[in-house]
């Protein structure tokens, strides 16, 4: 089985592209799932309330909401199932370490999502057929809802791993390390956002007037608006608390001033949404729906930007390392490629050897004069063109001249030792200057 996890990022630019791509995918995927979860949960709750209170307007609301949030099958596929596949691929490259999460993890998420979608679709069509719903259909809906929530929980746990590179070596040995408090808090934060957005969507989209008694219609609209507003208010109050918990559980290396500032922006946006809801006159036309929905989308965007910055902080050193490695790796790679063609090989080996020399040796050695180590024009000819002997010394240096500090063992990869040894012999033979 080919493991996607063994892929390494190609270049710093490609790495950045992938990471931003990841957050773009999440920006489409999670709000979609959020409406689905929030809408179905509220629809089921209204179904229960309607039966308890024997009030058909609750049932009508439940029906209308389910029809609003669950879109066509192609939308479910595009926004529900394709994104996790993309995230699966991106993870393999963004996390640097090999096989951070086993493929089984993603297959389980997809299977759970798929079954959840199927159950919710069946609930939606039963819901659409009649106001009075059989307990069986309600149970189907509840099962579907739980399945999608479970998928989001698993996904959040996997998402939490992004922020803690120190855990990856542990994760490779024991799968249970994919669970973390940070993942749990991310899950709760997402849920708060989901319900807030659902509240905004209810204010914006539901309570459409129908044919009938005007008084009853106004009462229905009032019910819908009140429900949507209360849901959104609750979310604005709870979301910042989870955001603070998220900061507490984030590993220190993921933190930076940006992360704190964007968190403060999220708290202020939540305050704005909360005040919009309290101050708006809910009875009039053009209620706060559009503004609140927009604020929640903005909140989510800032949360994702914040997470992007946090992942960048956590992987800052690996990215810097990528920047430092890129030129050498390319040349050594080219050297290997050209080895079969002797004429080209010498030229490229010369280039690769020169790069290695400048990277690892030039700090202490020059060809013509003593720096820290002896002048190479004096010592390299002692090997009389015996590259193997010189490579042996580079691999494992021994003190030759007691007047000089001993050369450290550099631990260079074998292909770099080979390239630099050939370069040194070539260069010293020609009586090389620096």
């Amino acid at each position: 089985m080919v493991s996607l996890g063994n892929l390494q990022p190609l270049s710093p630019q490609f790495y950045l592209l992938l990471r931003h791509g990841l957050f773009l995918v999440l920006f489409l995927h999670l709000p979609f799932l959020g409406l689905l979860i929030g809408g179905s949960a509220v629809s089921l709750l209204l179904n229960f309330l309607g039966k308890e209170k024997r009030d058909p307007s609750y049932l009508r609301f439940s029906q209308e909401l389910m029809g609003t949030v669950l879109m066509s099958k192609s939308a479910l596929f595009m926004f529900g199932l394709v994104p996790p596949l993309l995230v699966w691929f991106i993870y393999a490259r963004v996390l640097f370490d090999a096989s951070p999460l086993p493929w089984q993890f993603w297959v389980v998420i997809l299977a759970v999502l798929l079954s959840g979608f199927a159950l919710l679709s069946s609930y939606r069509s039963a819901r659409g057929r009649a106001l009075d719903l059989s307990p069986m259909s309600a149970a189907t809906g509840a099962a579907g809802l739980l399945a999608v929530i479970l998928a989001v929980f698993l996904f959040s746990a996997g998402y939490g791993i992004l922020f803690n590179p120190g855990k990856l070596p542990l994760l490779q040995k024991q799968v249970r390390f994919f669970l973390s408090w940070h993942g749990v808090v991310k899950f709760l934060l997402f849920l708060a956002f989901f319900f807030g957005m659902t509240g905004g969507a209810i204010l914006l989209l539901c309570g459409r007037p129908a044919e009938g008694d005007e008084g009853a219609e106004a009462a229905y609209r009032e019910l819908v608006q009140r429900f949507g507003a209360n849901l959104a208010i609750l979310a604005t109050l709870v979301l910042p608390v989870f955001l603070l918990l998220d900061l507490v559980t984030l590993p220190d290396i993921a933190l930076s001033a940006e992360v704190f500032v964007s968190s403060a922006v999220v708290v202020l946006l939540s305050l704005a949404a909360c005040l919009t809801l309290f101050l708006s006159d809910r009875k009039g036309e053009g209620g706060p729906g559009a503004r609140v929905a927009f604020l929640f989308v903005l909140i989510f965007l800032v949360i994702l930007l914040r997470d992007d910055a946090a992942v960048g902080n956590a992987y800052q050193d690996q990215i810097a390392f990528l920047h430092m490695q890129a030129p050498v790796a390319e040349l050594v790679h080219a050297d290997e490629k050209h080895r079969e063609k002797p004429a080209a090989a010498d030229r490229v080996a010369g280039d690769a050897g020169k790069v290695v020399f400048e990277k690892s040796c030039a700090g202490c050695h020059r060809f013509d004069i003593r720096v820290v180590g002896p002048p190479l024009n004096e010592v390299v000819p002692k090997y009389a063109g015996d590259a193997e002997k010189l490579k042996g010394f580079i691999r494992n240096p021994v003190k030759v001249n007691p007047d000089l500090p001993s050369m450290p063992r550099l631990g260079l990869p074998e292909e770099e030792i080979d390239a630099v040894a050939r370069y040194l012999i070539e260069k010293a033979k020609a009586g090389g200057s620096p």
């Binding site: 910042p240 900061l247 290396i253 001033a257 309290f278 050193d317 430092m324 690892s360 700090g363």
Partner: protein, 184 residues
């Protein structure tokens, strides 16, 4: 007691609405204060402190490929990895990059026989016994706890050094979980 609708509206407008506004603002104010406190405590923890001499691990580790124990010579023989004696620095820097300001600082320290007081990045509380030697002998790579130091212009703290962090690794590697192993 009954109120006329007009009186009720007045109460709504003058008492209830401002009270709710005040409560909401206070609630968010408290959250913002908590956020600020978290930010300040993160800032004061100084996870990447400035050093008296800006020693670049990037050059020594990544460019020159020096192994960690070339300078931290006690890492496999003592509890502490140790910072190198100034003689070690000067064995190369009597000749290399002597014109740089940071190297001049180093040379002054060396001439005046004044040790460089490096700022600690990693420190453990007194009730924890930790030995570098044991961990090196158990073939734990330096980077597992210290991260990619070779890519850090300024060293920053990577691991949390909290007990859970230690124990997770001990568990995965099958190392001792006895309290007395670390709390002597």
């Amino acid at each position: 007691m009954t109120h006329s609708p007009a009186a009720e509206q007045r109460v709504e407008k003058t008492v209830r609405k401002p009270a709710i506004l005040l409560a909401v603002t206070a609630y968010f104010g408290v959250l913002l204060l908590a956020l600020a406190a978290l930010g300040i405590s993160w800032y004061r923890a100084g996870l990447a402190p400035d050093q008296p001499i800006a020693f670049p691990h990037t050059i020594h580790v990544s460019k020159l490929n020096l192994p960690c124990n070339f300078c931290h010579i006690f890492v496999d023989r003592s509890r502490h990895a140790g910072a190198p004696p100034l003689e070690k620095c000067m064995s190369c820097h009597t000749a290399i990059a002597t014109e740089r300001e940071e190297i001049r600082k180093l040379a002054r320290h060396y001439e005046e026989k004044r040790p460089v007081e490096w700022n600690r990045v990693y420190s453990l509380p007194e009730h924890v016994y930790f030995s570098h030697k044991r961990h090196v002998k158990a073939q734990v790579d330096c980077s597992e706890c210290h991260g990619k130091v070779g890519a850090m212009k300024k060293v920053r703290k990577v691991g949390s050094l909290k007990m859970g962090w230690c124990v997770s690794c001990h568990r995965v590697r099958g190392a001792s979980l006895d309290c007395a192993t670390c709390h002597k």
